[in-house]
Symmetry: C2
Subunit: 243 residues, 2 copies
DNA sequence: GAAAATAAGCTACCGCGGGTAGACAATGGC
DNA sequence: GCCATTGTCTACCCGCGGTAGCTTATTTTC
């Protein structure tokens, strides 16, 4: 029996390919080009395109895709990277025109939502629809990277304000969760073309001011308010059919 | 060669023998029983168990599972239903001891987190890891049903308070998004055994009071605070590796 | 009481997609 | 020009979701 098992080939091949790419014929199989093609294929065919189709869109075959990009996980990771860069760029652009407090938050939220909506299929691909068996892990990995700067910023700000910085981490994930879920819902119903600016304003209101009533004199009203929500929560959860 | 059965028979057949041999009645394979078994299998084998294993755990075979429960989508839907019921029950129990305003929110959040943590695998199964090609749709479907009562409650409360009820829908999804993502993060790192009560308190703080500074005299500090976050956001998004 | 009718279940199979191995072509070195 | 190296393609494997048709056990009817 073949005890000779030259494994590690994939890893080795990948490393070698990237190194020796310019040795043989540089072909159009550049990694960036493959990723471009992958995005095109995903935009065209939805987040569930097969790797074969992605490769075909790039004009190559599956093994080439594998040797240059790697696993499907690796593809998800790479596209995550690009999408995060794009989101970050959009956020930076939205904030370029000077910002303060709440307005800055709103611009950022709007920018992220717009980016998600613009790349909805890529976003879906990166967040698990393309990952198959590891969808939640993909979502979490993406969230980790998206939340990292938020966490750092919040912790820093709280430290400077003399507050306990420990909520920073859950808060960062919470904010990403808001964007994630609302984005999902927003672009889930195609007919619902809610104004992005309006949506951003609403989310900002929640994130900035919370559910609490605005003035402390309204404390009594607050109780009523939450009590209403709670009553419904504890009521029937059997909502309408989604199909 | 005679028709020898190269089997996984031993597992399936034995299980079947114990369960189905006394099927005096064909109704033995009750739907609820199959769903119970599915949950057991998921808890045992993670959210990515195959249908074959689920069926084996139930002591039946795939076609039986199909005929009684239906598609994998249908299975996800059915388990969603059960999990939502459980979450709702936990929330109700947590609120049974009288509640007001912020405290009620905190109890609810804690209850939901606890339920998610307790059924982490089932939660993951229902939220896409088990759905394969339609993971985000599963997540959205679950969120729709989880958010429905929140949305109704918030809209009602806002209407009674004379406020615009239109943010209710995005807010409901936002809250579910917070629970979803933070829950994912929380139980994603097994070693991070952050105190659930503490986590719930932190999330409640965010949801109730928002990111805004507490007193208006701190407005200047607020600017600084968000500016810090923004600076990091617009900085490098290349966080640490997740692997 | 026996045998047909019937209903449930099981084995065996299909299609499809991710991932890989080994043959094949093209390029650079000698 | 020939060989080694390297990148690429064809053909395949495997596992899983989903289904078809035979088998078996229960029920019904004379």
């Amino acid at each position: 029996m073949p005890t000779v098992k030259p494994v590690q080939r994939s890893a080795a091949a990948v490393a070698r390919a990237s190194a020796a790419r310019r040795r043989g014929r540089p072909r159009l199989a550049d990694r960036e080009r493959l990723l471009d093609a992958a995005e095109r294929a995903i935009r065209r065919g939805g987040p569930r395109v097969s790797l074969e189709r992605i490769a075909a869109t790039a004009g190559v075959t599956k093994p080439v895709l594998f040797s240059h990009v790697g696993d499907r996980r690796a593809l998800v990771h790479a596209l995550s990277d690009r999408l995060l860069t794009r989101i970050e760029r959009a956020a930076r652009a939205a904030l370029a025109s000077g910002s303060e407090g709440r307005a800055a938050l709103e611009r950022m939220v709007a920018a992220q939502l717009a980016t998600i909506a613009g790349d909805r299929h890529v976003y879906a691909f990166v967040n698990g629809a393309g990952a198959g068996d590891t969808s939640l892990e993909s979502t979490l990995a993406f969230a980790r990277r998206a939340a990292a700067p938020l966490i750092a910023g919040i912790a820093d700000a709280r430290r400077r304000a003399g507050a306990d910085p420990s909520p920073a981490e859950p808060w960062g994930f919470a904010i990403i969760g808001v964007l994630h879920m609302v984005g999902l819902w927003w672009l889930g119903d195609p007919k619902r073309e809610l104004d992005p600016a309006r949506l951003a304003a609403q989310l900002t209101e929640l994130l900035w001011s919370g559910l609490a009533p605005r003035a402390e004199s309204l404390e009594q009203r607050a109780v009523t308010r939450l009590a209403g929500g709670v009553a419904v929560v504890t009521g029937a959860s059997r909502g309408g059919e989604t199909r």
